[in-house]
């Protein structure tokens, strides 16, 4: 039976044999088209523009070679912003992991009301990061906020900590907000991973009298590693693009002290309107992230 005959014998085939024959490509096409438009186009466009001299005033579309890229290397503010981003990542990620693991252990065994606790602890992760930034700005207010008041109870006298302006407290402030919002994410994933660990292995080890830390290193960690590494990768990539919380709390201030790569790129692109230079930064970021992710993926596979 030819395709036409099949279509004729079934009126339902009104969409025609073309769709039927190329079905698997037809249904992939719209998604791929949108991804290419919004994913690949920016990449190519940035690459071209990054070799030009477009800025707020100059509309110079002639090619400048590697001029913008050379400037990148002397841009102290850019490298500082990369440094800030790495600091945020290096501090927040291990703390979120450790707290997430502790919480997951706390709720691992069944207890009445467990589901309610877990549901409530999930809420911070669901809030818009800009809202959690705003919330913590209200909490950290040096005069009307409750944080200084709570510290005052313990200290026995009023404490005038100006959290988001004082250079020594601004990092802790942002990190507290970040860790508050995303520890529940780690907790949820690790709880699910821990629940899937083979109980009989744990019981056998317990009977042998092995201390829990040893059991954790030898049995639990290898079992949860595949899931844990995905969670770390997702959170790590999120932290590398940290923007919302910093924007709501400090806008990169005081001065440029808490500027992350995303904040700096935003300011260069949308307040200075250095088009070509921003494109070059974007390309550098894509390059560095791609290298980092490739390296990490390789490392994790070996570790597995």
């Amino acid at each position: 039976m030819t395709a036409q005959a099949a279509a004729a014998s079934h009126p339902a085939h009104a969409r025609g044999p073309f769709l039927e024959r190329n079905f698997k490509y037809v249904i992939v096409a719209p998604a791929i088209f949108v991804l290419l438009l919004v994913g690949l186009f920016p990449l190519i466009y940035s690459l071209i523009v990054s070799f030009q001299g477009l800025g707020m005033i100059e509309q110079d579309t002639s090619f400048q070679g590697l001029l913008n890229y050379k400037t990148l290397f002397h841009d102290a503010r850019l490298w500082e912003s990369i440094g800030h981003t790495l600091i945020f990542t290096a501090v927040a990620l291990p703390i979120e992991l450790a707290l997430g693991l502790l919480l997951a252990h706390l709720f691992l065994e069944k207890m009445p009301g467990r589901a309610i606790f877990i549901a409530l602890l999930t809420l911070p992760t669901m809030i818009s990061p800009i809202v959690s930034g705003a919330t913590w700005r209200l909490l950290f207010d040096h005069h009307f906020g409750p944080i200084n008041q709570i510290i005052a109870w313990f200290a026995g006298h009023q404490v005038p900590i100006i959290w988001i302006i004082n250079p020594t407290t601004v990092y802790p402030a942002i990190l507290i907000c970040e860790i508050w919002q995303w520890t529940p994410f780690m907790f949820l994933i690790l709880l699910a991973a821990l629940s899937n660990v083979d109980k009989s292995l744990l019981e056998a080890a317990e009977l042998d009298g092995a201390p829990y830390l040893t059991v954790f290193r030898r049995i639990v960690l290898p079992a949860i590693w595949p899931v844990m590494s995905v969670a770390l990768l997702i959170r790590g990539l999120d932290l590398m693009r940290l923007f919302d919380i910093v924007w709501a709390l400090t806008r990169g201030g005081p001065g440029t002290m808490t500027e992350t790569v995303s904040v700096y790129t935003y300011l260069e692109g949308f307040e200075q309107f250095e088009v070509s230079y921003t494109a070059a930064i974007a390309f550098l970021v894509i390059f560095l992230l791609t290298v980092a992710v490739m390296w990490l993926l390789k490392r994790m596979e070996i570790a597995r």
Binding site: A12, P42, S46, L123, V227, V230, V285
Partner: protein
């Protein structure tokens, strides 16, 4: 003896769990309570931990000034992009699973699209939109959120579709259904639970996003997170408005989470854990 030790242990666990929950929920409590306070109570020293009476004047102001339209904008944009991403993402995922279209390479390319920092994507998109007239329009943001969510939808739906027994589709084909009819009539209904769970996360991503909306909106289609930042001033911050608008934007998400409790883990971890 053993039983008493077990009871003490359980008591300690409840104590710790209660303390942890209070610490994690306090900021949310504070946000909500500020939205119900009078200006005098907001700017009181020491802070008022529980307002004398709950009042809704802060919300009334948002409705009277028309600011609340931003919640509608968020709803339209996040809702439309969710429907589009779910539909196109699911049919794409179906092809990847059943026909292995493009093999692993295509699947990995798709997920890699999700790893790009938004700021890197949004800058050239902004320039493209200036040219196409997409800045400050519904379709501009809808297109961007659809694209940004597609990798997530495809990745998640691949897992759910793979769980559908292939025999059902085969028997529908034998009955004379076209491929398209099988997809619409068998696959979509069978993947209902997965569709539902994935859609909620897709919606929340678009609903909560700030950076795309910050760059691509001006006055017409401002979404609620952008509006919240408008209330931060150089000298005075409109605390009451910040809190009330934040609550308006947060409550829908909490409701969604409450109804979808059991799908949460798999959705949040991109399918790494079968929850």
């Amino acid at each position: 003896m053993m039983r008493r030790r077990a009871a003490t242990r359980l008591g300690l666990r409840y104590l710790t769990a209660g303390a942890v929950t209070i610490v994690f929920l306090f900021p949310i409590y504070w946000l909500f309570i500020i939205s119900f306070k009078t200006p005098d109570e907001i700017f009181a020293f020491p802070p008022v931990w529980w307002p004398a009476n709950i009042q809704f004047a802060n919300y009334a102001v948002l409705f009277k000034d028309g600011d609340v339209v931003v919640v509608w904008n968020s709803l339209v944009i996040a809702g439309t992009s969710t429907v589009l991403a779910m539909f196109f993402g699911t049919i794409c995922a179906y092809s990847l699973v059943r026909f292995r279209t493009g093999g692993d390479d295509l699947a990995i390319w798709i997920i890699s699209q999700r790893m790009m920092p938004p700021i890197v994507i949004v800058f050239p998109i902004f320039l493209l939109y200036v040219w196409l007239g997409g800045v400050d329009t519904y379709w501009g943001l809808v297109l961007l959120y659809t694209a940004f969510n597609l990798p997530y939808v495809i990745w998640m739906m691949r897992g759910y579709i793979a769980d559908i027994p292939i025999e059902l589709e085969e028997s529908a084909l034998v009955d004379g259904c076209s491929r398209w009819q099988v997809l619409m009539g068998v696959v979509f209904p069978m993947a209902r639970a997965g569709l539902f769970a994935t859609a909620v996360f897709t919606f929340v991503f678009a609903w909560n996003d700030f950076i795309f909306a910050l760059v691509l909106t001006r006055t017409e289609v401002v979404t609620y997170p952008v509006q919240v930042t408008h209330y931060f001033g150089g000298q005075s911050n409109f605390w009451a408005k910040i809190a009330a608008m934040s609550v308006l934007g947060t409550v829908p998400v909490f409701i969604a989470v409450a109804t979808l409790q059991r799908y949460l883990v798999r959705g949040i971890s991109m399918g790494a854990v079968k929850g």
